[in-house]
Structures are given as structure tokens and as C-alpha cells.
């Protein structure tokens, strides 16, 4: 069962909240500046972008929208590795566009001094995520898409790779 509607909303918080809350704490602990000015404005925008991206991916059943993920890769039935890799690409566009690009744009717009959006960093971070997931899916195919144990490992690999790549896309 995929998280849709409210569960997708909560899922977006589990991804974005650690990414925007950990850096300020880290800054205080190590006394090393990382964050741009207007971080919290960017963080609010990233949270909003993350919610929109998750609802687009997983759908909102109450309004009859099934979501891109269900359409691309239904949880039942066989799916080829090409479609699985395409799905990871769509995830990357939704998450890196909705979270990282939104954050960078808001920070750049609100910053008193000229700040670069660093589109290259966002794109390269997204490519690391897509190619990393593609490597796992293709090398372990078909178990990566059919065997529940390997599917769970895929979720964990994605759960580790995505925040790390988003972290570089947001702050590097």
C-alpha cells in the first residue's frame, strides 16, 4: 500500500524536517557557518515544496487524484527495470525541484546580497541519486522490484541516498 493523501503529507515532513533542522543545530555545535542568510524562509518554502511534491507523487484520493507514482509504477503486477529507473527520475525531478530548487530560489530572492542559485549543484546531486538508485535496481533486477526483502532494502537505500543528495543540493 502506498502512502496517499495525509500519509504522504506526513512522509514529506519526515524527509524535509531533518534536512532543515539539523544544519542550524550542527552550526551551533561545531561553530562552523554553513547556512545562507534567510535559511528559515527557505526552509518554510522547502517544506511547502516537499508537501506539494509528495502529494503529486502519491496522490490525493479524496479528490480522485491517484498520483504519478501509481500511474508510473503500480504496486501490483510486474514492472520492468526501465520503468523503475524512469520512476526514480521522476522522483528526482519532483523532490529536487520541489525542495532544493524552491529553497535556493527563496534564499536567493530574499537575501540582501546577490546569492547564486547553483543550478549545477542541484542537477548533479539529482543525478547522483538517480544513477545510484538505477545501479541498485538494474544490478539486482528482478529481485529489486519483486522480492519483498530486496524491495525493503531499496526503500532504505533510497531513504539514505535521497537526504544525502538533497543535503548537497540545498547547502553545497
Amino acid at each position: 500500500m502506498l502512502p496517499t493523501g495525509f500519509p504522504a503529507f506526513v512522509l514529506s515532513w519526515t524527509l524535509v524536517l531533518p534536512l532543515v533542522v539539523v544544519p542550524p543545530i550542527y552550526e551551533v555545535v561545531v561553530e562552523h557557518g554553513i547556512l545562507p542568510p534567510k535559511h528559515w524562509l527557505g526552509a518554510a518554502a522547502a517544506i511547502a515544496g516537499g508537501i506539494i511534491a509528495h502529494l503529486l507523487m502519491y496522490g490525493v484520493p479524496s479528490i480522485g487524484f491517484t498520483g504519478i507514482r501509481f500511474w508510473l509504477m503500480p504496486p501490483v503486477g510486474d514492472v520492468g527495470w526501465m520503468r523503475a529507473v524512469l520512476t526514480e527520475g521522476v522522483y528526482a525531478v519532483a523532490y529536487f525541484g520541489g525542495i532544493a530548487l524552491t529553497y535556493r530560489l527563496v534564499v536567493a530572492m530574499m537575501s540582501p546580497e546577490p546569492t547564486s542559485i547553483s543550478l549545477t549543484t542541484i542537477i548533479v546531486s539529482a543525478l547522483v541519486f538517480v544513477f545510484g538508485m538505477a545501479t541498485y535496481v538494474i544490478i539486482l533486477y528482478p529481485e529489486s522490484l519483486t522480492d519483498p526483502a530486496w524491495v525493503r532494502v531499496r526503500g532504505i537505500v533510497s531513504g539514505i541516498l535521497l537526504p544525502m543528495c538533497l543535503s548537497t543540493a540545498l547547502y553545497l
Binding site: 500500500m1 502506498l2 502512502p3 500519509p7 506526513v10 512522509l11 519526515t14 524527509l15 524536517l17 531533518p18 534536512l19 539539523v22 544544519p23 550542527y26 561545531v30 562552523h32 554553513i34 507514482r69 504496486p75 527495470w81 526501465m82 529507473v85 547564486s116 547553483s118 549545477t120 549543484t121 548533479v124 546531486s125 543525478l127 547522483v128 538517480v130 544513477f131 545510484g132 538505477a134 545501479t135 538494474i138 544490478i139 533486477y141 524491495v151 525493503r152 531499496r154 526503500g155 532504505i156 533510497s158 531513504g159 539514505i160 541516498l161 535521497l162 537526504p163 544525502m164 543528495c165 538533497l166 543535503s167 548537497t168 547547502y171 553545497l172
Partner: protein, 79 residues
């Protein structure tokens, strides 16, 4: 039902795609870690990169644990 020729072709395609994916992953990772805009050439830049990777790792632990806690209710980490 696939015949042996189709299976062979599919396997070759999968191997080529696998090699391409590994190459793409390693080269994009190298580009990211070596500085996509030439900013990570100083000691400060390297420290910043390591800090961001540590932050990403801590956030990943948070994300995976939250997802795992919620998993009993929903298949939360996507599948």
C-alpha cells in the same frame, strides 16, 4: 512468453544499462565531491563539503527511522 533469443537480448541490455548506471553514478559523485562550480578547492570548501555530508547522513538517519516507525501504518518508504 520470451524465447531464448529475447531473454539473451534482454540480459545484454540489462548488463549494458548496469554498466552505464555505475559509470553515471561514480562520475556524477566525483563531479559533486570535487566541486561542481570550482568552489571546493580550499580547505574551507572541503570542510564545508564534509559538514554537509555529515548533515545529510544525520538527516538520513532521521528520515529512515521516521519512515520505519510509520511503516506499520503505511508502506511509508515508498513501496
Amino acid at each position: 512468453m520470451l524465447n531464448s533469443s529475447d531473454k539473451h537480448r534482454n540480459l545484454v541490455t540489462q548488463i549494458i544499462a548496469g554498466i552505464f548506471a555505475i559509470f553515471g553514478f561514480l562520475s556524477s559523485l566525483k563531479t559533486l565531491l570535487s566541486g561542481t562550480e570550482g568552489r571546493i578547492v580550499t580547505v574551507q570548501g572541503t570542510t564545508r563539503l564534509y559538514s554537509i555530508l555529515v548533515i545529510g547522513a544525520i538527516a538520513a538517519v532521521g528520515t529512515v527511522s521516521c519512515g520505519d516507525m510509520l511503516k506499520n501504518g503505511w508502506d511509508v518508504r515508498r513501496r
